[in-house]
Symmetry: C2
Subunit: 274 residues, 2 copies
C-alpha cells in the first residue's frame, strides 16, 4: 500500500485507528477456549467487529511466538483472513526486529514475501545494514522505533550527544538517508505528547505509528494537536482498551463500541485537515 | 545454567565455541531436501558432528521465522533435540527482542518457560522495562546488544554523548543497574577487536557473546588478547564458516573439521588462564 492509498482510506473511513491484536490466551473470553484455534477465533471476531472503524491491524509477534508453533499458525491465519476479507487494511507486523544484513534479509523475506504484510516495526540500534534489507520491497514499509511509549525510553533514546542532539533525533535524521516518507514511518509514543512538535521538525511529512493511547495513558487530542500533518500523518494504535473491553460472550460488540468511540474522536480531529 | 557451570564446560571441553545454527533452506545440501524436515535434519547432523567441540548452540530466529509455521516446528525440534541429547550445551535464542514490559514478558515466557532455552539476545533501545521481564527467571540469561559486528554499528552505537560517553558504554553501565554478571552477558562483535579493552573497562567480569569470527572477518587471537578474563568470559560464535563448510553429503564431517580447527585454537588461547 502506498502513502496516498493510506491517506484515502483515512479520509473515507474518517479514522486513523490501528487495532492492536495483542492476543493473549490468558486474557480472551473463556468460552473461546473450546474452539479449535481460540486465538484465531478471537482475532476473527475482533477484526469483523472493528474493520470498518479502523485502517490498520497490528498483531504483536510476541503474543503469537509465546504460543510456539500453535501461535505461529494463528498468526498466519489471522494475516490471511485480513488480506482476503479486508484488503484495504494496512497490516503491521509489530516485530521490532533488527539484525545484521543477511539476517534482516530473512526477516524481510518472511514478512513481505511469504506473508505479504505491509509493514514491519524495526529497532534502529544496529544501524543502516540492519534496516536496508527491508527497503527493497516496493510499497512495503519499515516502521522504525524512534521515541517509544514506555518508561525505559528515557534510558537511551533521550541521551544528548556532543552536538546537542538526542538519540531519537539522530535516528530520525540518519534514517532519512536510507529511505524517504514513501517507505519509512516512525514509532512515536503517545505518552510523550509534547514531543510531537520536536518530531515534526525532523519528519514533517512522515506517517507516525503512535502506540500508548488507551491503556498506557496517552491523549489522542494532544497527539493530533502536535503531530497531525496535511495527510493526517498519524496511525494511532489501541490494543488492550479495545480488544479486552469486555471478557464475556459480548466481547466483540464491546470492542466495536470502544473502537467506535475512538473513531468518532478521530473524525472530529480530522476536521483539522479541511 | 549458571556462570560457574559454563566455565566448567569451557575448561572440560577446552572450547568456548558457539555454533550458530543460521540454517537457510537455500543453503543446505540438496540431498537433504527430500527429508520430511530438511532444516531439522541438517541441524541434527551439525549438532551431532560438533557437540563435543562446542559449549553452546545459537539458532538465529530469523532463519526459522522466514519459513513460517514449518520453520517454527524445526526450531522447537532443534531445541528439544539439544536439550535431550546434549544437556550440557548452553542454548542461545538469537532473537534480538525488546519491547514494552508486557510484551517482553510474553517473549520471556516463550523462550524461558515454554522452551527452557538458557538465554536470549535482547536489543537495548527501549531501555529498562524492555529488559527486566527476562531477568525474573533464575539461571536464565539476557545477552544485551552492546557493540555489534556489522558496519551499521557505527551509526548509533558509537555516538558520543555530552559526557563523552559512547552509546555502547552507556548501555554497558546503565544495564548493570538491572542485573549483574550472573544474569547478563553482552554482544560484542569480533570485527572490533581493539574495542575489547574498552569493553573490559566497564564489564570486566561479564561473559561476552562474540559474533563476527569467520565469515565476517574477526580475529580469534585478537579477541582473546583483549577480551579474555579469568573465567574465559568469552563465547565466540561461528555460523557460516562451520555449518556451510561443505555442501555435499559430507557436510557434517566438514563442519566437524572446521569446528575442530577453531576448538584447537581455543585450547591454545585458554592456556592464558593457567
Amino acid at each position: 500500500m502506498n502513502k496516498q492509498q493510506l491517506f484515502e482510506n483515512i479520509k473515507r473511513k474518517q479514522s486513523f485507528l490501528c487495532v492492536g491484536l495483542d492476543t493473549d490466551i490468558k486474557k480472551i473470553p473463556e468460552h473461546l477456549l473450546k474452539e479449535e484455534d481460540p486465538i484465531f477465533a478471537f482475532n476473527k471476531a475482533i477484526i469483523d467487529a472493528t474493520a470498518d472503524l479502523c485502517i490498520a491491524f497490528k498483531p504483536n509477534l510476541a503474543f503469537y511466538e509465546s504460543m510456539g508453533v500453535k501461535g505461529w499458525v494463528s498468526f498466519e491465519k489471522t494475516i490471511r483472513y485480513i488480506k482476503e476479507n479486508y484488503p484495504d487494511q494496512f497490516i503491521i507486523a509489530d516485530a521490532k526486529r533488527g539484525d545484521i544484513g543477511n539476517t534482516s534479509e530473512m526477516y524481510a523475506r518472511s514478512f513481505f514475501d511469504e506473508l505479504n504484510i505491509d509493514s514491519v516495526t524495526v529497532a534502529p540500534y544496529m544501524g543502516e545494514d540492519s534496516v536496508k534489507p527491508f527497503l527493497i520491497y516496493p510499497e512495503k514499509w519499515v516502521i522504525l522505533l524512534a521515541l517509544t511509549s514506555n518508561k525505559g525510553s528515557q534510558d537511551f533514546q533521550l541521551t544528548v550527544d556532543s552536538n546537542g542532539e538526542r538519540l531519537f533525533e539522530k535516528v530520525l535524521k540518519k534514517s532519512q538517508e536510507w529511505a524517504n516518507d514513501e517507505q519509512m514511518m516512525y514509532v512515536v509514543g503517545a505518552t510523550q505528547g509534547e514531543m510531537f512538535t520536536e518530531i515534526r521538525k525532523y519528519a514533517p511529512n512522515h506517517f507516525l505509528l503512535v502506540p500508548g493511547v488507551g491503556a498506557q495513558g496517552g491523549s489522542l487530542e494532544e497527539v493530533c494537536k502536535y503531530g497531525m500533518n496535511n495527510m493526517c500523518g498519524l496511525i494511532v494504535n489501541s490494543s488492550r482498551a479495545i480488544i479486552y473491553a469486555d471478557k464475556t460472550e459480548l466481547f466483540a460488540e464491546a470492542a466495536r463500541k470502544a473502537a467506535k468511540e475512538v473513531q468518532e474522536q478521530m473524525a472530529i480531529e480530522l476536521k483539522r485537515l479541511v
